[in-house]
């Protein structure tokens, strides 16, 4: 197996994933720049927020 050059934490991976996906969603799913930014931020918050919420839920269930 080769060397892994980039070793982010799980949370960093989630934030990067949410960032890039939100940019594409914002640009492609809305028409005006203002609405693109708003929808991109909305998607980013949902991505990261739902990840944190589900993580806490799994933590509490596993206890």
């Amino acid at each position: 197996m080769g060397h892994t050059f980039f070793q982010p934490s799980h949370f960093t991976a989630v934030v990067l994933f949410a960032l890039f996906a939100s940019i594409v969603f914002g640009i492609t799913q809305r028409e005006t720049p203002r609405r693109m930014i708003r929808y991109g931020i909305y998607c980013f918050v949902l991505f990261v927020g739902s990840t944190i919420a589900i993580s806490w839920l799994m933590f509490l269930v596993a206890r």
Binding site: F20, V24, F25, T28, E31
Partner: protein, 163 residues
């Protein structure tokens, strides 16, 4: 003697005035229901070019339509996601036999030339053996799916379905 007919109640002026309103008026002799003007945003040429270019190279479809800002952001996002996936030792699907592998391969193929060049150069892991490598695999697949969405968006811009 030549004189201006501007403002006069000629047939031409009547049609011009009527067309500036909401009610379309057919030209004398025109077929009923025939289209008299092209759809706004629609242009001449090969309609699927931005779709194909956008699939092969992330953001290229928007660049062709002179949407420089959108194209740059899409290109940077998809490229970054793909490269990060590779640097996390993500797996590039090649020989798919199981249904999940076939779906992964379909997602990877969405990256267009990025996937083909990476396969030729032998980048990516053969198997994802760590959690991080599994994340990398998902990054690559999702980059391909996002690229397909971006290419379809370029097509919609080209056809005038989206402004």
């Amino acid at each position: 003697m030549r004189y201006s007919q501007k403002g006069m109640a000629t047939v031409e002026n009547k049609n011009t005035a009527a067309n500036s309103g909401s009610q379309p008026v057919s030209q004398p002799g025109a077929q009923p229901g025939a289209k008299t003007s092209a759809k706004p945003g629609a242009r001449e040429g090969f309609v699927y070019l931005p779709l194909i270019a956008g699939w092969l190279v992330p953001g290229a479809g928007h660049f062709l339509l002179r949407k420089w800002g959108r194209g740059a952001l899409l290109s940077a996002s998809i490229l970054a996601m793909f490269v990060l996936g590779l640097t996390m030792q993500g797996k590039l699907y090649s020989n798919a036999h199981e249904i999940l592998d076939i779906l992964g391969l379909a997602g990877d193929l969405g990256n267009g030339l990025l996937y083909i060049i990476s396969q030729i150069l032998g980048l990516g892991a053969a198997q994802a053996q760590t959690t991080l490598a599994d994340y990398g695999t998902r990054f690559i697949v999702v980059a391909g799916l996002l690229n397909v969405i971006a290419a379809v968006d370029a097509h919609n811009l080209r056809t005038g379905r989206k402004s």
